[in-house]
Amino acid sequence: MIRIPIIIIAFYFSIVSVFSQVNTDTTTYATRKLKIDEVNFVGSYYQQNGNNAAVTGGIGSEKLRDIPTTIDVRMSRKDKKSRLHSYAVALGVDSYTSASSDKIDPSTISSASSSDQRYYPTFNWQMANEKTGNTVGATLSGSFEYDYFSVGIGVQGSKNSKDNNRQIGLHLQTFQDQLTLIYPIELRSGRPTGMASRNTYTASITLSQVINTRFQVMVQVDPTYQQGYLGLPFNRVYFSDNSETIESLPESRFKIPIGIRGNYFVGDRLIVRALYRYYWDDWKLNGHTIELETAVKLTPFISVTPFYRYYKQSAVNYFAPYATQEKSATFYTSDYDLSKFESHFAGLGLRIVAPDGIFGLSRWNMVEVRYGHYERQTGLVSDVISIHCRFKQ
């Protein structure tokens, strides 16, 4: 299975090895005042169903519904040295219901996490110097829900080549998370209560290159180290003798994902976007991802985009299905997200750009709608529909 995508990718790049560049905005801004450039709204509806819930030890309903919405405001100004400062302030809210979370304490009508909201604000600043081709920036983010909170801090920098055809970037990011130790109701006695920490450190390196007037590529490597409580305290595990405990996973995980993305403009109406990603971690999970999208421009302002994504992973060393774990093991989980499977995700997107405004609203200049259907070999299926509206000054 792996050879086919690698051959396809190699074919893409061999055809166009004669070319090169990076998508860089060369617009010059006259104003030094802070002004709003655009406002983006993204709303989605997501639902899933399956029968391998980790909360009930690898059996039971995985039914879940989520309605995420985010709004962000992008602003910019020029300083006295003509450097462009960009600011983005975003707020996201997820509202979800989960059947499996309701099984943490089945004796109650509905446990605390069976329906919940998550709030996630983000603030980003970037400063770009057109003369030197350097950009630096910082990000502060948070995520807050009933039993979990996360704070993210990141710094980034990038350098453009003189001809703006190549860009190299580095993004250092950490997430400092705290989770509340909520155990299944029958396993609470004698266990520690309070909070546990989970910390993530990522050094993301990107290289973008223009190959020719129609083709550009990007390579991204995101080595990531996690430490702390990496399991979930309410995930049950059943041993082969039918006795029960909670999931136990190592306190560290090192991941290396490597992705390569290529976008090619074919003729005047077709854009092919492709991604291949290889993933490895020290829990012995290997993954391969292939994405292919073809944006067809029906007019200069309307495009439709059919897409397909294939994913394959091996199981982590510690996974076993319901009631098959050995008691002698140090680490164990029955979370099917960490099992061996293949998945397929396909759908369609529609994008409309209206320079004069959509529905008569002159500042609403773009709307994009996208639907996708997901099927995982374990039986989990899901559907997601999203809308993105962009308002420009």
Binding site: S20, I260, Y278, Y311
Partner: protein, 73 residues
Amino acid sequence: MKYKTLKIFSALLLLLTSSGCKSVKEYQKIYLNDAEMELSMRKVQQTENSFQLYREGASGGNGGKSGGGCGCN
């Protein structure tokens, strides 16, 4: 990580940075500057990326998050 995969990525990197790339002038970037040619992940994909992050063991390398957050459900 498999040695073979590393070799393939090294070859692709070499290809990217090789002299085979053409210097493209700003006025020649009409296709590259098209909004649909952006190499970063699109906003409309953020929910898809979020559920894939939690329903699958692999993360990162695609412009999305590579860690952080709960994925509790």
